[in-house]
C-alpha cells in the first residue's frame, strides 16, 4: 500500500513546481525538505542571517562538500570546512529560490541545439537537447502567470518566440540609473532591454507586491513578492489539503527492488531517527550536486553502483554558469548634485539586460554561443563592504583613523554598480560529482565530492561579454571599472549531473526526465540539463518541472 501518489525530495523550484501541479491535479503528494520551514514573517533584512552565518544553509562542520581542482597532472581535494567555500544554497522550504534575485530569462531556441548550431568543441561534451524550445514554451508562459513574472516585452533580434504578447505583470519600479544605462547603451550602439523579474509588481492572492526595500538577492522575501517555490507554489499546494511538506527530513536513500523500481525512501527526521515512506512515483529535486549524490548513494540489487548508474553517467557533466562580473564605482562627489542623488536611491531595481551577444559573430572568435548581461547595484550587505576596506591595495591590514576614513569613502561616498555576464559552462569529462570515500556528514553518510573542470572556451566568452558590460559602466560614468572573469564556478548556479537524452548509455534520464530503466523515478531540478544555456536557471527549472509533472500526472 502506497502512502502517497508522489514522494518529492527537495522543495525548491523543481520539487515545488511538481508538488503544485500534482496537488492541483488531485494527487496526494509528500514533499521532504531537509531544512526548516520559514515564512514571510521569519525573513528580515538581516545582514548576519543572510550573508555572514549559516542560518539558511547547513553548518559546514555538520555537512560539507569536498572540492577537487586541477593540480598539475592530478587533482587536489579540499573540504569546504577547510576552505570556507560554501556550496550549499538555501536548505529551507522553497530552497534557494527564497534567496534568488529573480533575474528571469527564458532559454532561447538556439540553446536546445548547441551542437547542431555551432558544432563540436574539443574537450567539451556538447549535445543537442532531446526536446525543442517549442516543447517548453507553453510552460515558460505558464510560469509567468503562476509564479508571477513582471516585465515588458520589447522586440529585438534575439527575442525568443512567445505565445502571449507580454508579461502578465508590469515591470517593477525602476531605479533612476536605469535611464543612465539606456543612454550609455544608445551611445555605444547596444540595445538596452527591460529585465524580467520573478518579483510581483502587483499583489497576487495572498502575496503582496514588492515593497522595494533594496535588499533582494540573497535575502529572504518578507512581502511574498519574490516568486520562490514556497511563496508562489507550495503554499497553494498545501492549501489543497493534498500536499504535505515535511521539513527537517534528510533523505539518504531510495530503496529499489530487483527490477530496479523504487519502492520507498528513507530519511532522518529532526530527531535523527530513520523514517521510511513509500509512494507510487518518486521525484528527486535536491539541486544538482545533492541529487547526484543521493542517486549514487541509493544502491540496490539491480543498481549496485547507484540508482540509474548502469553506464556510469550519474554525476557526470556537472555544469555551473560561466561569465563574471564587471563593476565600477559611482563616486558621489564627482557626479554632481543631481546625478549623485539619483545614484543614492535605494529600493527600485535597475532591471536592464543586454542580449546583443546571445550569439557572438566576431572576426576573431567566429560564430559562437554568447550570453546575456544584467545590471544591478553592488550587493547591499554593508558588513561585507566594510570588510573589504580592511586591507589596502597591497593587501596590508589597515586600522585606526586610516581605516575609518576609507570606510567613509567607500560606504558614505560612493556606490558600486555591477554588470554580470552569464555564459554557458561547457560540460566536460572531468566536471562531475562522486561520493567521497572518507568524508561523512553528521549522519555518517558519504558527502559529495565535486570535481571542477572548467573549459578554457568559457573564459573567452566570459571576457568578451564582461568587457562589453565594462564599456557600458564606463560610459555611464563609473570609475575604476574592472572586468572580473574567472573560471571559478558560482556554486549558486549549478546544473547537470543527470542529463536527459534518448540513449541510456550517454544519458541518465529520458526526454520526460524519467530515469532510463526506472519508470517510477523522475528528476525535476536542473540536473537534467545537458547544456545550461546562458541565463540563470530558475525559470527553466520551473518550466521543465511543470512539464515533467504533466508526464507524472499521466502515469499515476
Amino acid at each position: 500500500m502506497n502512502d502517497f501518489d508522489a514522494v518529492i525530495i527537495g522543495s525548491g523550484a523543481g520539487g515545488g513546481a511538481v508538488a503544485w501541479r500534482l496537488a492541483m491535479a488531485g494527487k496526494r503528494v509528500l514533499v521532504l525538505e531537509k531544512g526548516p520551514w520559514f515564512t514571510e514573517a521569519d525573513y528580515f533584512k538581516d545582514e548576519l542571517a543572510c550573508c555572514r552565518r549559516s542560518v539558511y544553509t547547513p553548518d559546514l562542520r555538520d555537512e560539507r562538500h569536498v572540492i577537487e581542482e586541477r593540480d598539475g597532472d592530478g587533482w587536489e581535494a579540499t573540504s569546504t570546512t577547510e576552505s570556507g567555500w560554501d556550496f550549499w544554497n538555501g536548505n529551507v522550504v522553497g530552497g534557494s529560490s527564497n534567496f534568488m534575485s529573480g533575474f528571469f530569462h527564458r532559454l532561447k531556441p538556439v540553446d536546445f541545439r548547441l551542437r547542431s548550431e555551432f558544432g563540436p568543441i574539443p574537450g567539451a561534451n556538447v549535445v543537442d537537447w532531446p526536446i525543442a524550445y517549442e516543447d517548453l514554451e507553453p510552460y515558460f508562459t505558464e510560469v509567468e502567470r503562476v509564479v508571477g513574472v513582471s516585465g515588458r516585452v520589447v522586440a529585438h533580434p534575439f527575442l525568443e518566440p512567445r505565445s502571449t504578447p507580454d508579461f502578465p505583470y508590469p515591470p517593477t519600479a525602476e531605479h533612476p540609473l536605469s535611464a543612465w544605462i539606456d543612454t550609455a547603451c544608445d551611445k555605444l550602439g547596444y540595445r538596452s532591454l527591460p529585465l524580467p523579474r520573478a518579483i510581483l509588481s502587483q499583489p497576487k492572492g495572498q502575496r503582496r507586491a514588492c515593497e522595494y526595500s533594496g535588499y533582494c538577492g540573497s535575502y529572504g522575501c518578507s512581502s511574498g513578492a519574490k516568486g520562490s517555490s514556497r511563496a508562489a507554489l507550495l503554499d497553494d499546494a498545501v492549501a489543497t489539503g493534498r500536499c504535505e511538506v515535511r521539513p527537517h527530513s534528510q533523505v539518504f536513500r531510495l530503496l529499489s527492488d530487483v527490477k530496479g523500481r523504487v519502492k520507498a525512501v528513507e530519511y532522518f527526521d529532526q530527531a535523527g531517527k530513520k523514517q521510511r515512506v513509500s509512494g507510487k512515483v518518486f521525484v528527486v529535486a535536491c539541486q544538482a550536486i545533492e541529487t547526484s549524490r543521493l542517486l549514487l548513494a541509493s544502491t540496490g540489487p539491480r543498481y549496485p553502483n547507484g540508482l540509474g548508474n548502469r553506464h556510469g553517467q550519474v554525476g557526470r557533466n556537472l555544469i555551473f554558469s560561466a561569465g563574471g562580473v564587471s563593476h565600477g564605482r559611482l563616486v558621489f562627489d564627482e557626479l554632481g548634485e543631481q546625478r549623485a542623488s539619483e545614484a543614492r536611491v535605494v529600493g527600485p531595481f535597475l532591471n536592464r539586460t543586454l542580449h546583443d551577444w546571445y550569439v557572438i559573430d566576431d572576426p576573431e572568435l567566429g560564430r559562437i554561443k554568447g550570453g546575456v548581461l544584467d545590471f544591478l547595484m553592488g550587493h547591499p550587505n554593508v558588513v561585507s563592504r566594510a570588510l573589504s576596506e580592511r586591507r589596502d591595495d597591497d593587501g596590508n591590514l589597515v586600522w585606526g583613523s586610516a581605516f575609518k576614513r576609507s570606510l567613509e569613502t567607500a560606504i558614505r561616498g560612493e556606490r558600486r554598480i555591477d554588470c554580470e555576464a552569464f555564459a554557458d559552462w561547457l560540460p566536460t569529462d572531468n566536471g562531475l560529482v562522486a561520493l567521497d570515500r572518507k568524508v561523512k556528514d553528521k549522519w555518517g553518510r558519504a558527502v559529495a565530492r565535486v570535481r571542477l573542470a572548467p573549459h578554457p572556451h568559457d573564459l573567452k566568452v566570459g571576457v568578451y561579454l564582461a568587457e562589453r558590460g565594462a564599456r557600458v559602466l564606463r560610459e555611464l560614468g563609473a570609475k575604476d571599472v574592472k572586468v572580473g572573469v574567472s573560471d571559478s564556478p558560482p556554486p549558486n548556479l549549478v546544473a547537470g549531473g543527470c542529463r536527459f537524452g534518448r540513449d541510456p548509455r550517454t544519458s541518465v534520464l529520458d526526454p520526460d526526465c524519467r530515469m532510463h530503466g526506472v519508470d517510477n523515478l523522475f528528476v525535476a531540478d536542473a540536473s537534467f540539463m545537458p547544456t545550461g544555456g546562458s541565463v540563470p536557471y530558475t525559470w527553466t527549472i520551473y518550466a521543465n518541472a511543470l512539464r515533467v509533472a504533466d508526464k507524472i500526472a499521466a502515469q499515476v
Binding site: S83, G148, Q206, L387, S488
Partner: protein
C-alpha cells in the same frame, strides 16, 4: 581537536547572483587556505608564542581589558565618528565568543592571541599592552601584524568590529544605529526583531509543532492561480 572551524580569514561571502565565486582565482584562494592551516595550527596550541619569538607565556587572567584596548586602538573614538567604545564592540565580541554555536577554534584563537600580545608587549616594553602609550601600542600591533597568525588575529578582531558597527542593534552592537548614521547607510526593512540565534534555535524546538500546525491549517485559503 576539531579542524572544522569556519574560517576566520575567509568570511562567508554574500551569495550574490554570481557571488559565490571565489574572489580572485586559484592563487589567491590557496594562499588563503595556507593562512587557514597556519591559523588552525596556531589555535591548536601546538606552537607557543606565534606573534614573535618566545618569551614566557602565561594565560592572561582577564583578557577583556586587553581586548578592549586593542579594539579602541584599531577603531578609535573620534570627534564626529564612533569608535569601538560607542559601537559596543567589546560586548559584541563577548557575545561572539560566548556563542555556543560559534566556532570554538576561533574563540580559543582569539583568547590565545591576547596571551601572545601580552607576551610580546612585556618582551618589548616590560609592561602590559594596556599600559602602553598609543605610539607603543601601534608599534606592537604592527609587529603582531607581521606574523601570519598575528595578522589573522587582528583581521578577525577587525571583522567583529565591522559587525558591531554595521549589523542590526538587535545583535548588541551599533546602538541606535550609530554606525549606520555615521556612514549614511540605510538598513533594509523589515529589520530583524530577534537575533538569529533565536531563528536558528527554532530549528531545534519550535518547528515540530510549527510544522504540524502549518499542515493542518494552511496559511492560505485556496487561491486561484491567476491571482492579481
Amino acid at each position: 581537536m576539531s579542524s572544522d572551524a569556519t574560517v576566520a580569514e575567509i568570511p562567508p561571502s554574500p551569495p550574490l547572483e554570481k557571488g559565490g565565486a571565489k574572489p580572485g582565482g586559484l592563487g589567491e584562494w590557496h594562499q588563503a587556505l595556507l593562512s587557514r592551516r597556519t591559523f588552525l595550527l596556531a589555535s591548536a596550541g601546538g606552537l607557543a608564542a606565534l606573534f614573535a619569538p618566545v618569551g614566557t607565556l602565561a594565560a592572561t587572567a582577564n583578557p577583556w581589558p586587553v581586548l578592549a584596548a586593542v579594539q579602541n586602538h584599531l577603531f578609535p573614538s573620534e570627534l564626529g565618528s564612533p569608535g569601538a567604545r560607542e559601537i559596543k564592540a567589546l560586548s559584541y565580541l563577548q557575545g561572539v565568543m560566548g556563542d555556543l554555536r560559534g566556532d570554538r577554534d576561533e574563540q580559543r584563537f582569539l583568547l590565545k592571541g591576547v596571551d601572545w600580545l601580552e607576551d610580546l608587549s612585556r618582551q618589548r616594553h616590560q609592561i602590559s599592552f594596556i599600559d602602553l602609550d598609543p605610539i607603543r601600542r601601534e608599534q606592537v600591533l604592527r609587529e603582531v601584524a607581521n606574523s601570519r597568525p598575528g595578522e589573522n588575529w587582528l583581521s578577525t578582531l577587525l571583522l567583529y568590529i565591522c559587525e558591531a558597527l554595521l549589523t542590526d542593534p538587535v545583535y548588541g552592537g551599533n546602538p541606535d544605529g550609530i554606525g549606520w548614521a555615521w556612514l549614511g547607510h540605510q538598513p533594509g526593512f523589515p529589520r530583524p526583531t530577534r537575533a538569529l540565534q533565536r531563528i536558528v534555535g527554532c530549528g531545534d524546538e519550535g518547528t515540530a509543532s510549527n510544522t504540524a500546525m502549518r499542515f493542518a491549517s494552511s496559511p492560505h485559503p485556496t487561491s486561484g492561480v491567476d491571482g492579481a
